[in-house]
């Protein structure tokens, strides 16, 4: 994402962006309210001169509620952008992203059982295939080399132990 300021004046807002921004504002507001509710159960401080553990979380949450309100109002007041069809070839592949995230989660869960080597090797192989590399043998070789290189760097050079896996301990 670019931090660059948006050019020009008030450009329009697409319907999906308007909905997404309102949903995000709602979610953040919900987190802030939950934080305030949970903070009510924090114990009062024993020090007379201390504000207690709840004060700062509540202050931050109130600020978030105000900011989400402002964001929601700005979003509702923004003009609509003209409809523009994105060519099929340029549409982002959200399925690949979802699979990538799921694969990362699976690698993390598997690492506890089968250890770093197998989990990471399979993970790298899967991701390279997902990203369009069709030479499966080469993918397997590259995955093995990368896995070994990372292992050598962390486990041997830097003495950082990597998970062995509960199945092999």
């Amino acid at each position: 994402m670019s931090h660059a300021p948006a050019p020009g004046g008030k450009a329009g807002l697409r319907p999906q962006d308007r909905i997404a921004t309102l949903v995000i504002a709602g979610l953040v507001a919900a987190v802030a309210i939950a934080a305030i509710v949970v903070a009510q159960d924090f114990p009062a401080t024993t020090l007379e001169t201390d504000v207690g553990p709840a004060r700062f979380p509540i202050l931050y949450s109130i600020a978030l509620l105000v900011l989400c309100g402002i964001l929601a109002i700005n979003t509702l007041r923004a003009p609509s952008a003209p409809r523009a069809e994105t060519p099929a070839a340029e549409r982002p592949s959200y399925g690949a992203v979802a699979l990538g995230i799921a694969g990362t989660a699976a690698c993390l869960l598997a690492m506890d059982y089968v250890g770093y080597g197998i989990a990471t090797g399979v993970y790298l192989f899967g991701l390279m295939t997902l990203m369009g590399r069709r030479n499966l043998l080469m993918n397997a070789v590259i995955a093995a080399v990368l896995t070994a290189a990372i292992y050598a760097t962390f486990a041997y050079a830097l003495s950082v132990p990597l998970p062995m896996g509960s199945l092999f301990e």
Partner: protein, 507 residues
């Protein structure tokens, strides 16, 4: 001049200890590698190597550790610029403009500028340490909890400056980061807040969140574009910036180095704070502040010279007062004690030749850092020649292993993954990630210092306006926060409509 004579003597002594120079080179090289790897920091590098110094003479051991310190602070910028993986927290500031330069095909110039700026900032800070240590040591003693609180608030006010298109979205990201920073043990009473019973959450999971928001989110974004998936990453291009370009940013380097030295002197404030403050001030004084965030070379120079300028400042407080300036110097304090040296005013009196040999060695360390850094850039630039279909999986694997290496905890990796998913969606709808990182750095310091200051003043809030340094910092913070908003109102646009950046981002 006394210091000059002692420095010359120290250099002479150093030349008679070639083993110390070899260890310094080893330390610098290891430091650069450790700094570049996500999850590993200069602090960890120094801590890992500390036991190896037990059997060494004081100069060799301390020079090796200094080399790791200096190399580690610089090393984080390499992966931050090439891959948007901040190797160290300070490099998170460098990543903002550094990676944008890489996307423009100017990775080489960005890396070269980072290396030169690190060298200049670090060398200048060591020279300040050598010649001005007694004068500046007293400044550290002026800082107590209220000044630390004011410094943290000033650091947080930078959020308005790095928010990009929408200040409101930047502030939301910042306050979310502040709320996240309250997760863990309450700084005064030790009560676990929002931990849900997980002991892993007793400390703010700062580095996993940073790796997730920056590196993993960017990697997930790479998965969505079919053309990007099969293409090459970017070109390295020229490494050394042309003199006309470098001359333009020299003033920024000098100013940022000065800021880094001052911030390094303050106990508890380290290179990460120095980098963000230097970035903010560089943008404030720039004739083209609108270029910041889009790939501005001066921004990279500011962050790196600020971060490395911090090293001399942190060492100054540690050596002259025995008060560590940051986490790394806290570990180095242990190294000094193990060598039988007591930091403080008497160190300069009773062990003057050893101290000045060390100073000479530190200057040599920075020269080594420049040489090793520049020499390795072409090799590191080959990373960009890899197809993204190999680079992106490698980055994700590195994120997983680097995060695991922090605490040997898969829980941390889970936090990194969650932050990566959130960061991906934040990118899609133009919520900046940098304010979250800034808040995670400054939030704990702000709260702990405020509550401590309040206790020290017996519950009175007058410390906010009666202590000069505190009052000045808070005023500057208010100015920094309000200025972008006032500029927008003056230009007649108000805050840009929410989601306007999202329209641009999808084009």
């Amino acid at each position: 001049m006394y210091e000059l004579d002692m420095l010359a003597q120290g250099a002479q002594t150093l030349l008679n200890q070639p083993f110390a120079l070899v260890l310094a080179l080893l330390g610098v090289t290891l430091g650069i590698i450790i700094g570049a790897l996500p999850g590993l920091t200069a602090t960890m590098g120094v801590a890992i190597l500390l036991p190896f110094t037990f059997g060494m003479d004081p100069v060799s051991g301390l020079l090796m550790i200094s080399g790791v310190f200096f190399g580690g602070v610089y090393g984080g910028s390499v992966t931050a610029i090439l891959l948007k993986i901040p190797g160290t927290p300070a490099a998170a500031a460098t990543a903002m403009d550094g990676f944008e330069l890489t996307k423009k095909g100017q990775a080489g110039i960005a890396l070269g500028t980072a290396t030169l700026s690190s060298f200049l900032g670090g060398t200048a800070s060591v020279l300040v340490l050598i010649f001005l240590a007694p004068v500046l040591a007293g400044f550290a003693l002026e800082f107590s909890a209220s000044e630390s609180f004011a410094l943290a608030v000033f650091g947080l006010s930078i959020i308005a400056s790095i928010s990009g298109a929408s200040v409101i979205k930047g502030l939301i990201a910042g306050f979310l980061g502040l709320l996240l920073a309250t997760v863990g043990l309450d700084p005064m009473g030790g009560f676990p807040r929002y931990t849900g019973g997980y002991t892993e959450l007793f400390n703010v999971p700062f580095i996993p969140v940073m790796i997730g928001l920056f590196a993993a989110a960017e990697a997930f974004k790479s998965l969505e574009d079919p053309a990007v998936r099969t293409g090459m990453a970017a070109a390295l291009g020229r490494i050394i910036p042309p003199w006309s370009t470098f001359r333009r940013i020299l003033g920024t380097i000098v100013r940022s180095t000065g800021l880094g030295v001052v911030i390094g002197i303050i106990p508890g404030a380290g290179a990460d704070i120095a980098a963000f403050v230097a970035y903010n001030e560089a943008k404030r004084f720039s004739k083209t502040p609108e270029n910041y965030g889009k790939g501005e070379l001066a921004a990279v120079a500011a962050c790196e010279s600020g971060a490395n300028g911090c090293t001399g400042g942190a060492l100054l407080t540690m050596l002259t007062l025995g008060i560590p300036g940051d986490a790394v110097t806290a570990v180095m304090l242990g190294a000094l004690t193990l060598q039988g040296l007591q930091p403080g005013p008497l160190l300069f009196k009773d062990h003057a030749d050893l101290v000045f040999t060390l100073f000479a060695g530190m200057l040599v360390c920075y020269v080594m850092m420049l040489v090793v850094g520049l020499a390795s850039l072409r090799f590191m630039g080959r990373i960009l020649q890899m197809p993204k279909s190999i680079l992106t999986p490698a980055i994700l694997a590195l994120c997983i292993v680097g995060t695991f290496a922090i605490n040997n905890s898969l829980f941390d990796v889970g936090i990194m993954l969650a932050a990566g998913v959130i960061g991906y969606f934040m990118q899609k709808w133009d919520f900046p990630a940098s304010p979250v990182v800034l808040a995670l750095i400054m939030g704990p310091m702000a709260e702990a210092s405020f509550r401590r200051a309040l206790s020290l003043s017996n519950g009175s809030y007058d410390f906010l306006y009666t202590r000069p340094i505190t009052a000045v910092l808070l005023l500057v913070a208010a100015f920094t926060l309000l200025l972008p908003l006032l500029r927008r109102l003056k230009s007649g646009g108000g805050a840009p409509p929410a989601g306007q950046g999202a329209v641009e981002a999808t084009k």
